[in-house]
Every structure is written in structure tokens, then in C-alpha cells.
Subunit: 256 residues, 6 copies
């Protein structure tokens, strides 16, 4: 690169998020729902509560949170085949929905939830990079709202969601660490990483992948620093969308 | 029924449509798109233009229009299994997407379109009855806008969409013919019917099904009359969404 | 068309059925069976009684009638892929078997049937147009014979099949309404329609599709008139095949 | 067993075939076809000629013969699931269709056939034991008739079917070797075997399976003797159905 | 062939087996296991005991033995597609695993086994001809060792495996009967046959297939003689691997 | 935990690897192969060279490396269903094989490889924790040996594998960072992480997952330090298995 001032394709500052927006209650039928936008990436997240748990949990008095992910065929620049029509989900879909499910289970007191399953559906309406991190962040809102309903209807006394978390992507683009890559940046980066981080800055999931070259420990540290700052902002937006007043989830009276 | 004044569950007049709305250009990537709402039923329709036709049309210089249909798992009152996850599409899905495709091919001059395929995706974001008729009506808008793009970019001289059409459901509910059933009405009707009708009132598709009892010819005629009136209104809304100024599609100079 | 006298490809009069034939008891194992021929179209219909109903009916004391449809790979002019080998049924197959099942449920007193399921299999041995309407007509015979067995063996006191019905196709061919299209006529028609009609002339199912051009209400009425006349004849043949003596199904003593 | 005179369930003599019947030309569309009956077992066999060979033969100037097998769902005593609906063929189906294909390839001069494929479909209309051997025997007739068509239409000068063969089952039932087991006998035998044998008595395929106990070499020899006699009779019937005048296939002028 | 002394590709004597080796206990987790080598053909066989039987055996107090077979994608000369990735098992796989299961059920006293299922997995690590016969022979060892565990842990008093058996392939190669074909020999033979034979020389399964020409009864007899001799040797090796001291399975006190 | 001296279940020191072993050339047919053992975890890795690349690379003169992963059904403590039999691969399988493929592509000069594809198969023979990291480490050896063959046969002048890398798992167990978890440790850890690291200590892939609680940045750093040390040792073993003499891959003359 020459000495021209650095400019990322989106024109954003390296540490700037896109416009982040959560629209809670987007779906009329779901127990919890949210349309999340990270810039032009839009994902509809719904949470459905079922009274049946997977076989391995029957009789244990414990609950479960699981997730499914999909992209509408024309959410992307060129149309993708519909997975329902091809008859199977891609490896990428499997990978992402497993990630979403693991992350949200870490946010939930599954023992307190009781023998219930919350199924999260994350459907990408429009894709412009970062769909999996937008999905996790939106899914947390849908999950929280569904849990809120369990409390408001008297099924549970305390809220089963006990940890606040959000997810964001980072990447190295032309040697510079950037926060929240859009599609153009993502398709031309040296390495990218997805972080799921709690409000206290601890790590739930890290998925780092070198795309063009291996990266050193220092570089990884700067990605992590960007991600932590981004997550703090996103959690603020989640709280607003959920109507959580304070700076943190309310302390629970010991529910168990 | 007793002599109390008749009231359909939705409170609407028997011949009243729900609030009909078309939001053109909802999707950033698709060549044509539209979010259509018939009351609480919302369907995202996109049109994708491809330069490849199905094998049976290769070398014929003719085009094709086809459609796929899907429902988000929690578009419905209780969550449905995701078809991509089950690995196959239901019979109902097959039936509906075939209906959409047939209808839109009748709206299009496939010979003039040339060796191109337009794929319509209709994805139900929220379901409250009448998803297939909303989908056809919205898909016409997405198709028209995609065709408009072919004209504006100079690929075609005239518009390949040559017939205006829309679809609506009707039904017999407690003996009374009703227009545009919502979910509550639909799940308790004696018979229902879906009509695809042109602006001139002619029939493209009729699908009539007795649910509780067979119906006579007269009754069918009253359903058809309701449908024709409804379609006229819907076509007006489609024209507004597409920016079509007059009362009918412009007359084409003979394109072939 | 010029002024030459009109002649449909089959040489039949516009309102003439093909040779209609029902061979009851064609299958040794099934509780009810029938090989139905509409001209060269031949469909083997069997009815199998099972003591198990689908999950949504368990414990309701109600029965169910469902149908599956298939074509032998070389029932057609050129060989089709075997659906069992491709691993999925086509959209057309789904559409047809749903139609058959819906129609036959309307013929049956499902509450009186009790917690039993009757599965109808319609397998096309040879296809020459109109397989779905032949299948419905033949399936009614198989269903009736299976129900007869329940009465004769003392399981039920009255016959669970309470409505007589048959199905027939019509179409507009070179502007002329024709009854009972064969393959040649069907593949070159302007519009076609399938009707399922009761003995009293009421409508159970209508599936009308414009193939080349939309049709007006008058035209639809003439198709319906043809269909009603055809169905009356077919029901006469069904009664002969089932050994039903009178002109209508016997009046039931109130079975519930 | 006691000293009561031996009687097999079918009442036949141990070395007696069931009524064997071939109805050539049963199907209007196929290049060759035959409805074969071995007693109550009825199999519809069709041969379809295609100008395309499997990938591994392209450009080799050699042809191929392959087979598919299926059972109608209610061909059996109790209804089986439809394979097309389950989405996969059973292991038994795979095993049988491979056997049919291998056997018929041995009857055919594949080099002389040229780059053509003959697909055999064997669909069991009614099952009462011995469906695979009936299928092979009937498939030979369908194949021969299809080959005859190639000669009559001048595509080939000599007949591509160069070996006459048929198949039959045998079994040990209560210690006694029986020819041509029906369902009752087959489901209660000690061991059974299927033989595909040429007119000269040589072996194409042997599939012997001990069901209740292992069998000695002598016993196997008596089964083989029964089978050879049975095959001779069946080949006679095949010749009649195909209109082959002499006692053997005509000697070919060296076709290659 | 000229008068040069006959030499099979492997250089072995026509009646010579390859190096046969059984490594019992190859797998740490399975109840019984064995890595079997017939020359360069290597198959890992494991036996897994489950307390659940297939539906048709529930409540009968009888057990079941079943088998699955697979080939590692690069066990063969050129890489094969992975069946798990293609989403279905080939016809050949189905055929082989059914053969293995049937054979081993004949070795087992299923009534004495009780309501347990033993699942045999045969996975080909390296293929050089004769994988199915190596698999059956190795599976017998895995099955025997699993049964031994049931006795040693006191679950059963007597051993549920009551018949010793092994399998071997033979073939006609350039007119000469050969024992234990390797890949080179197998791919160029006139006919081949697989035999499953008991220690007493009786037949459990015979699968004979003419590849290039039909074979006479005499020839079949010479193949059978080769096979019997080979099986006797293999059973000796199986006994060594299982630590069976005598020349035959110990006589059981009447276990039922 | 009390003050008793810390002991991990395996008895190893926290920073101790299990016994690591690479057996190159394990498979007779593959272009490169290796049986890798990390303690009781054993994975067979093969590399198959094909002259065909995926469609998106045709005509680009670039190559590709991809991977498939599978577990033998009884490689695990209790038997798993066979994926080929279930008809689909699990999400976990998809996730792992994508990880292996991405990692090995980073080791390879795909432009220099030319229009060739190297398919890596990793099949778990026995599982005791860490199968994916053992698979990546073994796959590198198989890949390297396959590349060596391309050089030795003169197809390529320089070696296409240009980066040495290996993979290892770490985890937090009862608060203590441990290297190379076995199954017992893995199933009871607070968090685990898989690292793919180059010889120079840079990161190719990081997959960190909190299982019981989120972890801080410091903790992540200690896991990374353990992993880097482990990888250095493993790369030493890989070099020995591949016969690489020096401490690093030889410097390439500029191959492009």
C-alpha cells in the first residue's frame, strides 16, 4: 500500500460498528422475537418455547436451548439454492447453528429453566457480512424476551437468562485490524474472527480463521480488544430493546 | 345459527379485503422484490434473473419463470419443523410453489423473454391465512420490477410481463361467502377457494376445495364474484407499487 | 381454424367419455381394490385398512383416509425416473395424492369409521391423460369395497362411505370445450380443469388451470356442465362394479 | 414328520411349477413388455431403449442393460411403505435389481448392441413368493421383444439377445426339496435358493441361503436338478410368448 | 493361452489361500473386535451388544444379530465417494451387509441370546479382493468374543454362538478354478462365487455369479471343493484368535 | 478442590502430550497416508490426488485441498449410528471437515499446485478425545507425502506444501490449563480450545468454546502458550515421519 491515508471500503473508522438496530416483537406468533440489523445485514430471530426436551434430557428436570439458522435464497448477492429444495443443509449452516446454540446455552440457567426447550430460529433476510454474529446478538434478545414471558406469566419466578452476551466479527484487512466487517471487507481480508463475549468481557466463543496468512499473538490481541469494545456497545442496544433499565442484568434471588 | 346479526370473526364485511400493502424494493440484492402484506400475513417475494434455462428449453430461445415457496419455522402459531432440516419439502409446499410458477408464466411473454429464467422466491415471514394468494400477488410485483430492470438496462425493448393478475382466497363460512379469509376463518370454513384472475376478470387458476360439505354451482358463482371484485382492488395496489401510471399495462409495440 | 368440420384428435364427440371400466377385486391381498381404465389410462387402486391413525387423531375416536399416488416408470411415452430411486416424489405426485386423499375424505363419515385409517394407493400402470381423475374414480370403488368388508365382517353396522362421487377432466381445445382429454388433447389444450363432483352434482374439488390463455366465466360454466354429465355416467359404472343396486347409496339408519 | 403322506401347502407335486404365463406387449408405450405370472405372483416387466449409456461406457461403442425393481405397496399381504415416499429403496430391492441386471447382461451381446442402454423395470403387481425369479424370467421376454424391435426397425441386423435363460426358486421344506415356492412355503422353509440358468443348463447365478439350517452338498444338487427341469419348461413358455419358432435361439451370422 | 505352465497373477497355487490373519481385540471400546487380513485386504470388525431389539422382536424374548459394512473412501485403488457424504449406501453395500447379517444369525442361538441385539460393523481399511468373505470370517471372531464376554460377565451361562463358520471366495480364471481371488484375479475372472460354510462343510450361503460365461455343474463342484478346504484352514485360524482350544466348539449343556 | 496435590485424570503433567505417533504409508493405495495416534486416539489419514478441481476453479490454473472426516461406528465408547446409513452427516462432522480443509489449504501453495485437487480423508479408527487435532496433524503428513510424490515423479519441481503446521487441543479442567485432553478430561472441562499453529508459532485457526464458564483473556493466553509448545513437539514428529532432515521445510527456489 502506498502512503495514501488508509480507508476501509465502508468508509468507517477501523473501530466503528455499523448501524446496529434491534426491533423486538417483530413476529406476532413467537414467544420472543427480534429483527436485528447490523448495517444492511438483517436477521429475523425468533424464540419458541416447547414443553418437550431432547431424549437425552428427559426426566432430568433440565432444559435446553437450541438454534437453527437459514438464509433466504435471495438474501445474498446472487441467488443461492434453497436448502429445503436441495434436501440438505450445508456444512456452513450446520457450523453456524451449532455456534448459536452453544452460545445461548451459556447465557441460560438450564437447570432453572426446567424441562423446557427454547428453539431459536435465525433467518437471514438480507446478508452483507457478519450474519452469524448478528444472529447471535439478535437471538439473545429473542431468548431474553421469551424468558421474560415465562416470568410474566408466572411459570418461572426468576428470569432464566442469567448472562448478557453479544457477538461481533473482526478481521485483518490489508494489515489493519477492523471491527464489524461488511461483505466487501470480509471477502478480501487476511484473517477474520468471530467473538462471543459476555458483558464482563469474558470469552464464550472464539473462531479465528486465517484466510490469507497466519497471524501472530499480538494481532489476535488487537482483534480481541476491538471485539470487546464493540460488544459493550451492542449489549447496550440489546438492553434498550429488552427494556432492561440498569447497566447489568438484575441480580437474581437464588432461584434454585 | 340464530337470528343474531351475522359477524365474521375478523369483524370485516363479507366482501371486505384486509389491509393490502406492497413494499417494492424491500430486498437490496434481488432484481425485483416486494414485501406484501394481506393483514397480518406477510410474504417476502424476490425475483432473480438468471441467464440459464432448464434443460428442456436450452436452445429454444424461450425463457421460463419458476417459483419456490417456504415458510419461516415460526411464521405460524406454533413452530413448524424447518424443511431444510427435515430434508424435504412438504406436499403443501410443492403444491403452492407449482401454483405460483404456473400463474406467473401466464403473465409473461416467455418467447420474448429469451433464454433467461426468472426465479421467484416467496418466503412467508408471518402467516395469518391466505399465504399463497398473497404470495402470487406479491410475486407479480417482484416479477414486474425485475422485468422493468431488463427494459431500463436496455436488455429488452418492451416489458416481458404482458398480463396483470392477482390472487385472492374466498370461502363459505357458516353458510356465508366471505372474501379474503384470515387464519381463524379459514380453519373453520365449509369450503374455500383460491382464484388467480386477470385484470379483465378472466380465470388463470381456480382451486376449490370442499372442507366440510360439497357446494353447488350457485355458491361457486358467488365466490367467483367476490374474488373478481377483490382482485380488481389488489391490482390497483400492485400498479401503485410498480409505478404504473394508467389503468392497464401499456400496450406493447409488437415485440416479436 | 378453417371451416372444416371440427374433429378432436381422439375422434370422439366433444362430450363423449372414453371407454370407462372398473375391475373390482383386481388385487388378491387388499381389503378393497379396482383396476380402472379410462381408455388407455389404467390405474390400479387399492384400499388398505389399518388400525392405527396419524398422531393428530390418536384418542379422538375418529378415522382417516389418505392416499398415495405413483406412476410406473414406463407407464408413460418415454421412461420417467423411478421416484423411489431418485429418493423423492415430484411436486406433481405430491399435488395429486393430496387431491385424492381430500376427495375421499369428503366421501367418508370419518367419525363413524372410528380410529381406523384407510390408505389408498393409486398406481398408474399405463398413462394416456387423466390419470388423476381416473385414480379418484377408481379409488372410490376400492374405498367402497373396503368399507363393505367392514360391514360384512361385522366391524361396522353401517357403511362408512356416505357420498358417491367421481372425477373427470375437461379442457378447452382449439376453442372447443371437450370432456375427458386423452394425452394428445391434453398436451395441446388452452386450459384444462379437473372436477370432483358428487352424485347430486355438487362440487368437491375444482382445479382449473389456464395453459395458453385465461378463460372467462361462461367457458368455465360449459366445462362444469360437461363434467357433471360425465360424472353421472361414471358413477353408474362405479355402482355396477360395487354391486350397488339402486340409483343412490342406500339411506343409512343414523349410525352415530 | 410322521408317516402321513407328504403334502406341500400348495398341494403341488414337489417338482411341479405353478401356472406360468407370459403376456407379451402388456404395455402400450414400452419397446418391450410382458406381464408374467407364476401362480398368484404377477410382475409387469418393461424394457426401455435409450441412446445414452452410463458414463463409464461413453465412447466405448458398447451398450448396457440395467434393471430396477419395485413392489406396489399393496402387492403384499399387509401394506408396505412406498419406497418413493420413504425416500429410499430397501436393501432387498437393491439386491434384487442388481441380480436382474447382471443376469440379463449375460444374455446380451453388449458389444453388438452398440452405445445403447436397455433399462428393464420389474414392478410387482401382486406377490406370492418368487417375485425375483418371475421378474428375471419376464424381463428376458421384455428384453427379447425390445431387441426384436431393433432388428425389425433395421437399427440392428442381428438380434442382440444371444442367450436364452430363465430363473426359478427352490427350497427345502420340512426336509423335502421343492420347486417354485409360493409365499406360504417360502416363509417356512429350511433353506431356499434362486437359480438363473441357461437353456443349456449352465449356471448364470446361484443364490442359496440357509434359513433354518445349513445344507449339505447332496441337497444342493437336488435343488439344482429341480431348477434345471423347471427352467426348461419356463424357457418353452418364453419362446411361445416371443414367437420364437424353434427349440433354440436362431444361430446368428457372426454379427461382429 | 499357450502351453507355458499356468501361473495365476498372485503366483499362488490354485488352491492356496493368501496369508490369513486375525488380530483379536483390535478395538478398545467394542465388546468384541478383530482386524482380519486376507493378504492386503484388511477389514476391521467390531461387535456391539445392545439391550434393545428391532421392533418386530420386542416382547418375544429372542435376540438378533445384524451387520453394517462400509469401505473407507481410499481403501480402494482410486478413491470412491464417501457414502455418508453422498447420503446413501450403494446397492453393493446393502447386498453385502445383508449377507453378513444372515450368515452370522445362522451361527447364533438367537432364542438363547435373549432380548439383545449384536451389531456387527465391518469396515474395510484396505481392499484387495474378497472383502465380503474376509468380513464374514472376521465378524465371526468379533461376534464370538462378544459372546464370550456375556459368558464371562455372568449374563449368559452358555455361549450363544453355536456354529463355527467362515467364508471364502473362489473363481474361474482363464478356465482354471482358483481359491481366494485377489483384486487382479477377481477383475478378470469368468465367474466367481462366495461361500459361507460351516466347520462340518455344510452350506450357509452360496452366491455364484457368471461374469463372462455361464458355468456347468461340474465346475461349480470344483469351486465348492476348493472353498471347503479353504474354510477348514480359516476356521483353524479363527479358533486360535479366539483361544478355542479343541477342534470344535465345546458341546453345550442344553442351554434352553 | 482441597489442598491435595493436583492430578489430572490421565496422570500426565498439565503440559504433557500423550504419546504421539505417525505411521507414514499405512495405506497401500493412497498417494499419501498416515495412521496417527495421540494416545488411544487413532486416525487414518489419506491423501488422494485428482486431476479435476471443483467447478469454481475450472480454468483458473489453481488447485484445491479439501477434507472429509468420519468416525467408524464403534470408534467410540458406545456405538454411534453410521452416517452412511442415516443418510446424512452430522453437524459436528461438517464442522470438523471444514476445519481440516481450511487448515491444509493454508499449508499449500494452491497456485503452484496447478489444476489438481488433493482430497484428504480422515477416518477415526478409535476415539479418546482430540480426534480433530490428531486428524489435522496426521493429514498434514499425508498431504506432504502426496506432494512429495508429485515432486519425485517429476510432475512438480518444487514441493507444493510450503508451511508446516500441526494442531492440538487444550482446556481448562478444574481451573487448571491442560494440554492435549483425553476423553475423560474433555468431557468434564470448563472450556476447551483447538489450535492450528504454524512452526513459527502463528495462528491458522482458533476454536475456543466455553463449556461451563466464560474465560478471561489471561486464561486464553495460557492455553495458547501450552498449545504452541505442544505444536513444536508434534511438528518434530511429523518431520521424522516425512523424512524431512532439517529443522524447517527446505527453502523453495521461487517456484512460480
Amino acid at each position: 500500500m502506498n502512503s495514501a491515508p488508509f480507508a476501509r471500503p465502508s468508509g468507517r473508522d477501523p473501530s466503528a460498528l455499523r448501524q446496529i438496530q434491534f426491533e423486538p416483537g417483530f413476529s406476532k406468533h413467537a414467544e420472543g422475537s427480534c429483527l436485528v440489523s447490523f448495517g444492511d445485514t438483517r436477521v429475523l430471530c425468533t424464540a419458541s418455547i416447547e414443553d418437550k426436551v431432547p431424549p437425552f434430557l428427559r426426566g432430568t428436570n433440565r432444559g435446553w436451548v437450541t438454534a437453527e439458522y437459514g438464509m433466504l435464497p435471495r438474501s445474498t448477492h446472487s441467488r443461492m439454492d434453497r436448502e429445503a429444495s436441495r434436501g440438505k443443509q450445508s456444512g456452513r449452516t450446520h457450523e453456524i447453528q451449532r455456534l448459536i446454540g452453544r452460545s445461548l446455552r451459556m447465557a441460560t440457567d438450564l437447570g432453572y429453566l426446567g424441562e423446557r426447550q427454547i428453539k431459536i430460529d435465525c433467518d437471514v433476510i438480507q446478508a452483507d457480512g457478519g450474519t452469524r454474529t448478528a444472529a447471535i446478538s439478535g437471538a439473545w434478545v429473542a431468548l431474553y424476551l421469551a424468558g421474560q414471558g415465562l416470568v410474566e406469566s408466572g411459570v418461572l419466578k426468576s428470569h432464566p437468562v442469567v448472562t448478557s452476551l453479544a457477538a461481533i466479527s473482526c478481521g485483518i484487512w490489508h494489515g489493519v485490524p477492523l471491527l464489524d466487517l461488511d461483505y466487501l471487507e470480509d471477502s478480501d481480508c487476511d484473517a477474520d474472527a468471530n467473538f462471543v463475549i459476555t458483558q464482563s468481557g469474558d470469552l464464550i466463543e472464539v473462531q479465528l480463521t486465517a484466510e490469507k496468512q497466519a497471524i501472530g499473538q499480538e494481532t489476535m490481541m488487537s482483534l480481541l480488544a476491538l471485539a470487546r469494545a464493540g460488544v459493550a456497545t451492542i449489549i447496550g442496544e440489546q438492553f434498550k430493546a429488552c427494556g432492561i433499565a440498569g447497566l447489568a442484568l438484575p441480580v437474581r434471588a437464588n432461584p434454585s
